[in-house]
Amino acid sequence: NPFDKKTRLAVESARENIQLLVVLLDTNPYIWGKRRSDQNQPSSYKQNLKTLINFSQFLNHVLLFTNAYLSSNSKNKIAFIAAHPKESKFLFPHTSTDRVQSENATTTTTGEQDLLRIVRSDKATEEFFLKEINFNTLRNTVIKQLEETFTETDDELVVKGSSLAGAFSRALCFINRLEREKPIGTTLNSRVLAFQVSPDISMQYISIMNAIFSAQKMNVTLDSCILSTEDSSFLQQASYITGGVYLKPLKQEGLIQYLLSVFIVDKSLRGLVQLPVQATIDFRAACFETKKQIDLGYVCSVCLSIFDQHKWSCSTCGVKFEVLQQVRTGAIQPKPKPGSQPTNNTQSK
């Protein structure tokens, strides 16, 4: 019965519900460029590398997915951020070089004028919420911005890997602003979808974890789609903690099928759909010095650095450790006093 109270309530609440998806694209030019050159290689040993897609194919898949996402509900909103090695960059909605163009500047289409108005004042975020996003405008803006991003790349910084933590932090700031400025009575469900091709950088671990905990507090789920050859343990932990989906597609040329069956599903419907789950998540820490994964280790009580062997002073914060219980039981050698003979040792492990 379409007129019963429960259905009417469901329809009413659905009207006030706005979905926001922020897409993080990893635009590391070194890795994408290497793929393209690998694809062009005729040699047979690189045959298996030909299953990895190059950037233009990848962008086709993503834009097709975006069109489907925007068509599925008129209230769906989307934003794009490129995670580049030097810094992250907003592809859509976009400002030119962080400055707003003056009022008299001519723009190519009225769509772009609207986009600039979005970022210009808080009253215009109402338009962002109320008006539908035009896919053509979006596609043209994204492609144009990506071209600009790639042309202004600095050669030295490329091999470092992309700044996924920076892009994620910016996405969270943007979501925070929209939460604050949304029209009264609407609920905003936000999620972030990250595409990654670069390997994990251990220096970014702390930043990514900070961003993850902040996302968890804000109820933002992070989904990750891994297009590199190795798994990313950072994104595995991120997706697990925030309740998102972690997926490493086996056949990348069919990426659109993975996107349309897994990543298009809203948060509210995820309980009804069978989504890929992670069997084991590697929560083990890595030793700060030897960088290998450890099950059992030692943690400095001052700076929380992790070591896999016993030490007498912490290499991160320089603090010296006192005599331990284990020395008395003989498990560890006592620290030799300067200028004295080493004591004859008991059985030590």
């Binding site: 943007f174 671990y205 900070n210 902040s214 804000m218 998540i281 009580s301 001052v302 331990l324």
Partner: protein
Amino acid sequence: MDIDAEDDNEIPDHVHGASGDTGYVWEGQFTGAWSMLDDNQEGQIINDLQLKEQVRKRQRLTSMTTVTDSIVRKGIIRFMYLILDLSAGVLQPVAHDLKQSRVSVMHEATSDFVKEFFDQNPLSQMGLIVTRRGLAEKILELTGGQKSMLTELKEIFDPSPRADDEPTPDPFGGDPSIQNSLLIAHSALQSIPQYGSREIVIAYSSLSTCDPGDVMTTIQLMKDSSVRCSVVALDAEMYVCKKLSHDTNGTYGVALHQESFKELLLAHALPPPTTTKQKNMKPALIRMGFPQRRSDNLFSICNCHSEIKAGGYICPRCKCKYCDLPTECTVCNLTLVSSPHLARSYHHLFPVAPFVEIDAPKGVDARTAGQRFDGTMSVGTDVNRIIELCGNMSKDNTLCCFGCLKHIPRENSLRLLCTRCEKVFCVECDGFIHQSLHNCPGCE
């Protein structure tokens, strides 16, 4: 209603309105609102209310979170006892200072405090002591479990009615005893390892204490054992509490109204800096295990509930299963944590540098403009470059916030600059970054 004609003998002295006349606290915020407007030289009213609002918000944030740039050693692994005063002071009628009763204010604030404490310090443990009728009682030993603390608090403040018809004993009443509660906490804190930071937070709502002996000797005992005692008071200031917190390097806060009580209490969720006087706190290497999570398809008996459950974490040393982390293995006494738990505390050790304001406040002339940066920037930043950058940017009207893409015009809003990556942020992103995110998006 004519406020001046009211009989103000019953209204306590500490309640004053915004413009100084006596009245109820909630009336105070509506008087004197015109005093916030200024006029410029031509006599026109300057519309900078938005700017003032932002400056006030930022000042509140910076004072609450103590955004400093120097790296200070903090007590990350904390063992804290929360002492609640459930004496007759808590039963004060809904009178002059609070909109809700003191009981509900205490309940709400302590529940929020417990949640925030375990969120910010996942490796720490907390216990509960209450004092009433001249005695002190230890309700809960030191535990890392948030749920047990919350259920005990609910049991005290909002007890469920008993099944049998016996009348429930009155949970509040009598006199509080600071000395007894401190002695109980002290004996309990003696057994913890030396690398931990020992703390006591007292939520006090009376004006006196009823002690069996000399409370000053107990205060001296606390000082010698390097236990950091802090007090958050709902009633007026007391000399005993002041001496206790001062001698043990804690803090003493007196709440003006319920929001300030909650703010003062939540400030203790952040790790305190350790002082050289705490000579008993020696740094040590703690043996910890990092268990892997088992797949949810495998069922086995867990060690914490003795029930068959799916998933769980396996202790690397003795191979017992536990449902939740962080926990201590009951068989081999190994602390089990996962790397996100340690990562939750890293932001205390590597905080984000505070942002500087681009535009100088009104009334500051160009000569002294550079001096406002003294002491606000970390060692190693090029101060002259920052001054030059601020000078150029303050004339620019087209700046957008790097975090949220909002355009921040020159007049009527606060613009903030990160000294390391030289990006501009608005005041909301600044609050979000320093309180919640702990990452500067531009520096990554």
